[in-house]
């Protein structure tokens, strides 16, 4: 079994899989890949189960070597990767020969790029998942983002993997959207018509201090509800909460499990992966859809991912 040697971790690189569900009662949120679809596809390109762990890089990628070689794939955003100086394509599997160096740079598109490796990245699971939860320092590699000099184990690969690539048609379907679709939030009707109009007609800018816990937005303030006190309650992934001051925050993969701010909307599941590709200063808008539409879009997306000709 091989290893990944971290020569340079990049800006913020963590081990992620599809997260740990079921621990809300002790306050532990799922964590997991910010753009789960990219990780799932990356795993399939290298012949892994979809839920295997890979590396999630943010805005600026790292530099890695593979002393025993490895089958690799890069998915998500294009970080201008090279293997021993030769450009490598994203959304395709390729082989790193023993000792070759994979180098990534700053993003050319969205926020996150995933490195999948045949056999998966192996770490000691915490609550059944390899995902890093930064705030609590749990999971992943020592509960933190990677550092120079870290060595990560690669699991046993399922066998030799022929070169594969993602069908172009699928890339079209999954392309970034700057208009995120939302359903109503649990407190939508607490907000005035004016507040709703502002929320749905404004362009919001992703703030610098956004992270895996929450995507903070700058732009037109949404007037908060008057009177009545909000009691803390469970919050769902993608909830758009409006704190005092009216700047919306979209709760993300390392979200708090409960919260006391009213929620005007909730990003639909089929757009979660797009949240994971938002960069600071990106501009977004919100479009309201019904729950049935959201469900239909999710089913369509999953059917696409399950299709036989996804990988060619």
């Amino acid at each position: 079994m091989g290893v990944i040697q971290v020569l340079d971790p990049g800006l913020f690189t963590t081990v992620q899989d599809l997260g740990r569900e079921g621990f809300g009662p002790i306050g532990v949120s799922p964590s997991g890949a910010a753009d789960a679809i990219s990780l799932r596809i990356g795993n399939r390109l290298v012949g892994n189960a979809e839920a295997s762990a890979g590396l999630e890089m943010t805005l600026l990628g790292g530099t890695f070597t593979f002393p025993e070689g490895a089958v690799l794939a890069l998915t998500g955003s294009d970080f201008g990767a090279t293997l021993d100086g030769a450009p490598v394509e994203i959304w395709s599997s390729f082989e790193a020969k023993p000792g070759q160096t994979l180098r990534l740079g700053p993003t050319r598109s969205g926020a996150r790029c995933y490195l999948s490796v045949g056999g998966g990245v192996e770490v000691k699971p915490f609550l059944g998942s390899a995902s890093t939860h930064i705030l609590s320092g749990l999971g992943g590699h020592e509960g933190r983002s990677l550092r120079k000099g870290d060595v990560l184990s690669i699991g046993a690969a399922s066998g030799s993997t022929p070169a594969r690539r993602l069908a172009t048609r699928v890339m079209q379907e999954l392309k970034p959207r700057k208009t995120l679709r939302v359903t109503h939030g649990p407190q939508s009707d607490w907000f005035s018509e004016t507040a709703q109009r502002i929320f749905y007609s404004s362009t919001y800018r992703v703030a610098e201090e956004s992270n895996r816990m929450g995507i903070r937005l700058e732009g037109a303030a949404v007037p908060g509800p008057s009177g009545g006190e909000m009691i803390s309650e469970g919050v769902s992934l993608g909830a758009v909460q409006v704190p005092e001051g009216g700047k919306p925050i979209v709760l993300f993969v390392e979200q708090q499990t409960t919260g006391g701010y009213p929620k005007i909307a909730n990003v639909i599941s089929a757009d979660f992966h797009r949240l994971g590709q938002l960069r600071p200063r990106d501009e977004i808008r919100f479009e309201r859809v019904e729950l049935e539409t959201a469900r239909a879009l999710l089913i369509k997306q999953e059917n696409l991912l399950a299709s036989d000709d996804l990988i060619v």
């Binding site: 009662p25 915490f126 320092g137 309650e233 769902s236």
Partner: protein
């Protein structure tokens, strides 16, 4: 109103909220509801529904987020519609009376009050016209209930604070509250298990680890537990801190 006085709210395309509150005409919970004995009852229903769903797991129910008087149920939207989940939950709700909650454990948490560990002790005392010693005495005089764990891993929402201690949260939250800090906000108190941002007024700090990955159950406290704070001095704090390291 339905089974057990529950109200459903479809909160996202993969979750529903079950509320046990008594909403007023605008659909909002009453202001200051936690002073109200109804909330204790509501929280008991939350714990019963949670217990039932943990004992009889439903395939396709992916996560549960309990809170004061609500339970968020996250489900696999590829498997269930909201109406189907609501139907399943209604059948559980009809059986709440048969659920026996286990006898609460009493957990003692040692706290070193004031000084660098409790930077807001003096101000909290001033706000309520008391001495620091009186605040410590009051805070450690009552048994609290764990309403739920939330926010971050192992953060227990404890109530009720003696009403003489009820103070608003800080106007500007701290960017980083030290691990183990014991804070108060409105009628609640709690211990920060991790260094996180936080707006609660800090009275002291415990050397006890609230959340440990190497411990069975992970969290020191569980929903429904009873908690009492015991004042300790800085010397004892240091000794316990070494013990827990």
């Amino acid at each position: 109103m339905s089974e057990a006085g529950a109200r459903f709210q479809y909160s996202s395309d993969q979750s529903v909220l079950v509320y046990f509150d008594s909403p007023n005409e605008s659909g909002r919970a009453q202001a200051q509801p936690l002073q109200n004995p109804i909330t204790l009852q509501a929280n008991k229903k939350v714990r019963k529904l949670l217990r039932l769903l943990e004992l009889e797991r439903v395939v396709g129910v992916r996560n549960l987020h309990p809170a004061y008087c609500s339970l968020l149920v996250k489900f696999d939207a590829l498997k269930f519609s909201h109406e189907e989940v609501e139907g399943i939950l209604r059948r559980f709700l009809a059986r709440l009376d048969e659920v026996k909650l286990s006898e609460p454990r009493l957990v003692e948490i040692p706290v070193c009050y004031g000084g660098e560990f409790g930077p807001d002790l003096a101000e909290a005392a001033g706000l309520r016209g008391m001495t620091a010693a009186q605040v410590i005495e009051l805070h450690s005089s009552v048994e609290y209930q764990v309403y739920f764990l939330g926010f971050v891993p192992g953060f227990a929402y404890l109530g009720e604070l003696p009403k003489e201690l009820v103070t608003p949260r800080l106007a500007a939250p701290r960017r980083k509250v030290p691990v183990g800090s014991v804070g108060i906000a409105a009628s609640h108190t709690g211990v920060y298990p991790f260094a996180t941002p936080g707006g609660w007024r800090l009275l002291g700090r415990t050397p006890i680890k609230m959340f440990r990955a190497d411990r069975e159950g992970l969290s020191l406290l569980a929903i429904g537990d009873r908690v009492r704070f015991t004042p300790i001095d800085a010397q004892r704090f240091a000794a316990l801190e070494r013990e827990w390291a």
